[in-house]
Symmetry: C2
Subunit: 383 residues, 2 copies
């Protein structure tokens, strides 16, 4: 197996991109990543694209072909990967395996979603749950995560204020990230007084509806120094599946797929939690950020809320979480999120994260979730 390095990354501005089409935002990200890697489009051997539901959002499937065509990267192989909100993380994994196998040398893995100006997003997103057993009886994602939050509060005494602090810290970080959808601070009071969405979750507990794209250029580790002085190495890429429906789990406050994938990732990278300097987790709702730091093993089960409240996850804390602003404040264009998480870690490890830079970060980790944990993808990267 060949080791793999990242030599280029990009992310478009995330937000309501009324002036750009689906095709335009992914083209912008693709071209920017190629430029960041200091290569030419012709140098690319293959493309992988993560996207959840262009079919339901813009009535367009076969988007990998569309993108290869519209970006001018055609005729290279172009493959779409879909795993709900983990589509980006899985597109990266396919790119890594394509390089590791020797099938291709220089590969772009990207993610894209166009969500704001099309259909009712909540219905389309609900297609990531078990349609027959969840969505069709009214359980959409805010309500599913609300149940997980309520149970966590009941089991472990997690408070409403602790959930709110997850969002507050994410916005603090996003205020330093010009690519973020919401680059401004919020307060605990604002979260607690925001519109109720699905009790106990309120509007400012929820990641937004977002347009955006991000991209990553991969090559064999042994060749990376030809392109850049600061290659970032893929130390682990793992994935696991959980039950797609929440009701089939023994414990709805634990995401087993995260635990399984994380255990394998630490083994593959041959490190422990203590070695991680920067962490991007899948905080689609505030509760999921808290579950993540528990299931990844940074705190004991049930102690996530307290850790967040006490500042452990702040930019200057023991384990900085979501320096980018996370799904909550950087934004959450479903298929692009897993790629944007890794792009943020790459900027952190290169020392290019500007005002949100984690000083001396050498090893970073990402956790990307599909649905309520039906899929989990984990990456560990190092300088």
């Amino acid at each position: 197996m060949r080791d793999v390095a990242i030599i280029g990354v990009s992310q478009t501005k995330f937000g309501e991109l009324w002036d750009s089409s689906f095709s335009q935002i992914i083209t912008e990200a693709g071209v920017a990543a190629v430029e960041d890697a200091n290569i030419q489009g012709d140098d690319l051997d293959a493309m992988f694209v993560g996207n959840m539901t262009s079919g339901l959002f813009i009535q367009q499937e076969h988007i990998a072909s569309l993108i290869a065509d519209h970006t001018g990267f055609n005729p290279i192989p172009s493959t779409r990967v879909e795993a709900a909100c983990a589509s980006g993380g899985l597109a990266l994994r396919q790119g890594i395996m394509a390089v590791a196998s020797g099938y291709y040398d220089t590969v772009i893995s990207a993610g894209v979603e166009k969500m704001t100006d099309v259909v009712d997003a909540t219905d389309a997103i609900a297609a990531a749950s078990d349609q027959e057993w969840e969505a069709k009886i009214g359980a959409n994602f805010p309500s599913l995560y609300a149940m997980m939050a309520r149970r966590h509060m009941y089991e472990y005494g997690t408070t409403r204020e602790q959930l709110a602090m997850m969002s507050v810290i994410s916005h603090d970080n996003a205020s330093k990230n010009p690519r973020a959808q919401f680059p401004f601070k919020i307060t605990v009071d604002q979260v607690l007084n925001s519109t109720k969405v699905a009790d106990p979750l309120r509007l400012l507990d929820c990641s937004p509806i977002t347009d955006g794209a991000a991209a990553i250029i991969l090559c064999p580790a042994e060749d990376a120094k030809k392109y850049t002085d600061t290659p970032i190495y893929v130390k682990a890429s793992t994935q696991a599946s959980g039950t797609i429906a929440l009701h089939d789990r023994k414990d709805i406050t634990t995401i087993d797929s995260t635990k399984i994938a994380a255990k394998k990732a630490f083994e593959m990278a041959n490190i422990t939690n203590k070695d991680i300097d920067a962490l991007e987790v899948h905080d689609c709702f505030s509760i999921n950020g808290i579950l993540a730091i528990e299931d990844l093993g940074f705190v004991k089960k049930g102690e996530g809320g307290k850790a967040v409240e006490e500042g452990m996850t702040q930019l200057d804390g023991e384990i900085p979480v979501n320096p980018s602003g996370g799904l909550k404040a950087r934004g959450h264009p479903l298929g692009a999120t897993g790629i944007a998480q890794v792009a943020e870690i790459v900027w952190q490890l290169r020392g290019e994260a500007g005002k949100r830079q984690i000083e001396g970060a050498e090893v970073g980790m990402t956790q990307n979730i599909g649905g309520t944990g039906g899929t989990a993808a984990i990456h560990i990267l190092s300088r």
Copy 2:
């Protein structure tokens, strides 16, 4: 790069499967492939699933998680790949790269589509074209392929009867395939007198709307003899992209993605057309079967119609095409087709194809197309 072998295959009956859900048909295929490989579900390390448009057909995305869960293969990594009607071929490619890379040892690559009892299929399928430049102005797939057929007739003198013969031969073969949707013969007259769909194409030039699933088990070539006395080896797996929209091509009677992927496949396998004993091509419409044998290099451009008329592609001809019955008569459950094509070649190379057996077949080839050629995937297999 590790060489890869196929140790198990399966295909459900293709057709209008009113009694089975999406989840049930893919589970049936998965379990049958595991049994065919003489392994246990626990032996699987990862799963890849090709599916075009479960979002539009059954409002269900995140199907790889759903399938891992419903089959009981959970918690192994499960990844959906989408490339319109080439989804199956690309799911197989991801499985091959996963094994070749050393990331996983025993992998299942499957394909599935549930099409008959849901929404208007033609509209959903049109999402595989360029929605903004083709589908929204009324160019669905029958009309796009009709233009390709009309131009081929104009340029090369291809006749209506030659197109019809493509379907007649496919039905001849399907009459010997118990898994086929239409296991019966038809005549040239029946094709010529069937309902006009998009001139010059008639109903019996068109592949049907189909429910179905198929699956393949892969492992490292060096381990294959542990499981079976008749492993089939993957000699080439290639892919290329073409323009998604037909109007962007210099020549609408040639599918460039097929030509590019085929050239690479012959190089990778280090063989020529003359070495191929069995060929499965993507005859979604009769014209596409004729384009395939031209673009794959079995006949010169423009001579495909004549070759079909003269019997070259019959089961006992110079190069037997679609012994399974092809998309026309075996059926075309979009995401399952690329996998079913390879399953047929495996049965042929094992000598297990019953009444449609091509005697002494040692090397086989498949061509799987997305849209009108925005994607092409080619596989070459040998005993």
